[in-house]
Every structure is written in structure tokens, then in C-alpha cells.
């Protein structure tokens, strides 16, 4: 499958409540090492935003400061973005993607200890 097929998918919680849409996919390089090149890269989880669009600027994740005004606008727009670990998804082929936890149990992205690249 292609990575872009996951982007924009709707995500619902155990009870069917709307969580948001997939706005990015977090990859982790902790797979088994290979003969050549780098360790394998696996899908670790989904970044799920309650809003569409505007996601590429990266302000909702990278801890960088940036111009104050743009940071405020983007972070306000993406307020409530959550992180769904890949293993929480019950049925990876079903649409929408359903999580085996209630919405309140899904952590907010901003509460995660370290951003990507850390």
C-alpha cells in the first residue's frame, strides 16, 4: 500500500465517536537492522487532527519557535491533535479506522515526551 492512502482517513474511537483525520504518520527507526543501509522504518502511530489542511507547516509538532504569529495561528487551528499508536487500531483495513480505546484515553500530541527527530 502507499503511505498517502492513510493520510486523510477518518479515525473513530471504540464507541464510534469522531476523533479526527490522519494528518501525518509517525515512523520509527527501531526495526531489525538490515544488511545494507539503515534500520527498518516502521509505522509507529498516526497523528490525528480534528481539522483538515494546514498540516505541513509542522508547527503542531516540532518544538521550534518560528515567527510568533504563524505559530499561534497554526497551533490554534490544530488544537486538539492527538497521537494514536498503530497497535491501538483494531481493524487496519476497515474504514473509518477504529481504535480500541475511548477518545479520552488517546494522548494529545503535545503531551508526548519528545518530538520527531529527537
Amino acid at each position: 500500500m502507499r503511505l498517502s492512502e492513510l493520510l486523510g482517513l477518518e479515525v473513530v474511537d471504540r464507541a464510534g465517536a469522531h476523533v479526527g483525520t490522519v494528518s501525518d504518520i509517525r515512523l520509527a527507526q527501531d526495526g531489525p537492522p538490515q544488511e545494507l543501509g539503515q534500520a527498518r522504518l516502521r509505522v509507529a502511530g498516526l497523528v490525528v487532527s480534528p481539522r483538515h489542511g494546514g498540516r505541513l507547516l509542522g508547527y503542531d509538532r516540532i518544538p521550534y519557535e518560528g515567527p510568533w504569529l504563524i505559530r499561534r495561528i497554526v497551533r490554534t487551528y490544530h488544537h486538539g491533535t492527538r497521537y494514536v499508536p498503530w497497535e491501538w487500531i483494531e481493524d487496519r483495513t476497515g474504514r473509518p479506522l477504529r481504535i480500541d480505546h475511548p477518545i479520552d484515553a488517546i494522548p494529545h500530541l503535545r503531551d508526548l515526551p519528545a518530538g520527531p527527530g529527537a
Binding site: M1, Q29, L36
Partner: protein, 144 residues
């Protein structure tokens, strides 16, 4: 390195160890270059494969109109895929494919350990080179 995340009232999970990338932010739409800095293509999409344990692994970078078209969507996206399917060169009708194991660095560009000539992903470049540009005198000279 695995650190459990505990948020009050929330379920626990294991935060990923090792390097972490956000695919859209760090991988998609970045420039792919060879070790000498020659530009090869853009990361137009990424191929994922599911393992027996249900883990999705990145298996290749996809390039060219057949990869970009579906992301673009709409009639334009369809046209890109159709044109690629009709005019494909040595690479076949699908997108260009750079296997994951060739990647040596993920930074502001993605470096792969292969020469562009060894990857069958540049059908149009080859066609333009041999049919048009090579026919113009001075095409293989360094500028003076």
C-alpha cells in the same frame, strides 16, 4: 530507551525508541539525491508493506507522475497517471521505485546509495536527453 508515557486517565503505550520521523513532514516531497549530490527525483509517495506480525514497514520511495497523480487527485491526477501509463519508458507503467535499503540519509534531502543511471526511474529524462538535448551542439560540454 523505551519510556512508558503516563497521562492521568489515559491508557499506556510504548513511545517509539530510536529515530522518529513524521512521514509527511520529513519524507514526502523531499528531494532525492545520489552520494555526489546529483538530483534524482522527489519523494512523491512511500510504499508500505505489512509484515506477518501486522507491522507496516517502509519498503520503498515512489517517484514520478504515477506516484504523484493519485495524491494530486481530481482530473489532473488521473491525467498524470494516464500519461505515465502511456509514455512510460524503461521503468514500466507504475511509479519509479527506490528500495528502502538504498537510503543512507534522511535530512533536508534524502540521500540514496545508487547512481541515477542504475535506477530505472528516469524514463522521461532519458528520452529528452537522447532525443532532444543530445542533438544540440555543445550538450556534453561544460559551460565556458
Amino acid at each position: 530507551m523505551e519510556a512508558p508515557v503516563n497521562s492521568p486517565g489515559r491508557a499506556e503505550f510504548r513511545a517509539p525508541a530510536g529515530r522518529v520521523y513524521d512521514a509527511y513532514l520529513h519524507l514526502l516531497d523531499r528531494q532525492i539525491i545520489d552520494p555526489d549530490g546529483e538530483m534524482i527525483a522527489k519523494v512523491d509517495d512511500v510504499e508500505l508493506e505489512i509484515s506477518d506480525e501486522g507491522v507496516l514497514y517502509v519498503t520503498a520511495l515512489l517517484t514520478g507522475p504515477a506516484a504523484l497523480g493519485p495524491r494530486m487527485g481530481g482530473p489532473l491526477g488521473k491525467a498524470m497517471v494516464a500519461i505515465q501509463a502511456r509514455l512510460h519508458g524503461t521503468g514500466g507503467p507504475g511509479p519509479g521505485r527506490i528500495p528502502y535499503h538504498l537510503i543512507t540519509d534522511i535530512g533536508s534531502a534524502i540521500t540514496v546509495s545508487a547512481q541515477p543511471a542504475d535506477l530505472t526511474i528516469r524514463g522521461l529524462e532519458d528520452w529528452v536527453r537522447t532525443r532532444i538535448i543530445d542533438a544540440i551542439p555543445g550538450a556534453s560540454d561544460a559551460p565556458q
